[in-house]
Symmetry: C2
Subunit: 227 residues, 2 copies
DNA sequence: TTACTAAAGTAAACACCGTTCACTCAGTGA
DNA sequence: TCACTGAGTGAACGGTGTTTACTTTAGTAA
């Protein structure tokens, strides 16, 4: 008899319904609108019901973020179809920059908000699976580049390289999201800075054979602070 | 008669008392404990009183952050006493890394939380004053390095260079704060990565005459992902 | 069919939160 | 003396996450 399987499936569907409602609320009205009461309203249940499916709000949001990070895969899929590891690496970086700058609310929730680790059984199994895990996917691209001898011989730790490139791009994107409105700072355009960061890191990491010319610093707004 | 001056002074003292209480609460118990009611309790006033001094909570927190960013000056002062621009630049970066990794709560509030710009008259005048503004101070160090011919000839925009270095270090620090607990990622040590990022950016930005050997990727935990 | 049980779902409360409003009251200037 | 200004307040409002005791529902076993 498959009743217990059906129960588990229905329970999973209800969890999905809750998360979908929360995601839609977040997309439409921003993070502050994602309250348990409003989520409960959307799915036409009372707020307390959500506690039958998630320990607390933190766990619900964490499950949502975990899903969304996994869903980033779709953003990066086109990059994976490039021919060479180098092209995949470059395309990946550009896709990441565009994603971060174009979806700032989502980016902030996914990568700028400390949340306790979730132990969602549905997504735990997808960890370390390059097909589902964006970081794992990026890591595999970096590993391909290591294997292809793209990087300097002393740079062989793919984790280290991946984390460094990620941090560089994340730095530009997240600083722009958090401080881009700070008028006391004469910000240069964020996207151009992100691309410059990307090229500069590539240039520093690449082996001599693959290093191209020194990355350019777009000049149309240079020198206003030069002596 | 100096009564109006005294009134203004007393008003400023009260503002300071509110901010000090908020800062202590934040330092002792974290951001979530900084509620208007608890701040009011600390200074033994009723919550509504705070609204006589700040438009709302956002403005209060923003004033606190502005003060704390200005106070970062003290952290960076020793770096300013180094002899050469190059030494000042390197020391500044290291001080920033230590500050970010050692005071994660403060870092998160200051640089990872988007807040609307404050128009606090007391601190507005201190903007763009290198003596008070940490970013301005860093910018002036970068400008010294530009003037000293430290960077490649095509890199002359001090704002651009400063924002790139800042973003690189911020990327490592903020990613560690937000995602450092993510067990699905096999993180390399944050401080070593931050120093590596620093050296890698320096190496990429410096003119040939000042470029030293290729920055090392600490090896004690390398190769566990190599093929 | 019926009694039992485990889970789903809920109404109501609790303890907070930021914010507003009507109010008191002391100090000030005319 | 008197009107006025601004600091400070108590009480409320509408909101939040969360818990508790309760009802309802659905599946199981006799």
């Amino acid at each position: 008899m498959g009743t217990s399987e059906r129960r588990a499936r229905e329970r999973e569907e209800m969890r999905a319904r809750i998360l979908d409602a929360a995601r839609e609320l977040f997309a439409l009205e921003g993070y502050d609108s994602v309250t348990l009461r409003r989520v409960a309203d959307c799915i036409e249940y009372c707020p307390a019901t959500i506690y039958k499916y998630f320990k607390d709000k933190e766990e619900m949001v964490r499950a949502l973020v975990t899903q969304d990070i996994a869903a980033l895969m779709d953003t990066f899929r086109p990059s994976m179809e490039k021919q060479t590891p180098l092209e995949r690496l470059r395309s990946f970086g550009q896709a990441y920059i565009d994603m971060g700058l174009n979806q700032q609310n989502h980016y902030r929730l996914m990568f700028m908000t400390p949340l306790l680790p979730a132990d969602d059984p549905v997504y735990a199994e997808k960890r370390n699976d390059p097909q589902m895990d964006s970081y794992g996917l990026f890591l595999s691209v970096v590993q391909e580049c290591v294997d292809a001898g793209l990087f300097r011989p002393q740079y062989r730790d793919a984790e280290w390289i991946a984390q460094t490139i990620w941090a560089g791009l994340h730095g530009v994107v997240s600083l722009h999201i958090a401080m881009g409105d700070e008028s006391a700072i004469d910000w240069r355009p964020a996207k151009a800075r992100a691309l410059f960061m990307h090229d500069l890191l590539m240039h520093g990491l690449f082996a001599d054979a693959y290093r191209t010319e020194v990355p350019a610093m777009p000049s149309q707004m240079v020198c206003q602070n030069a002596a």
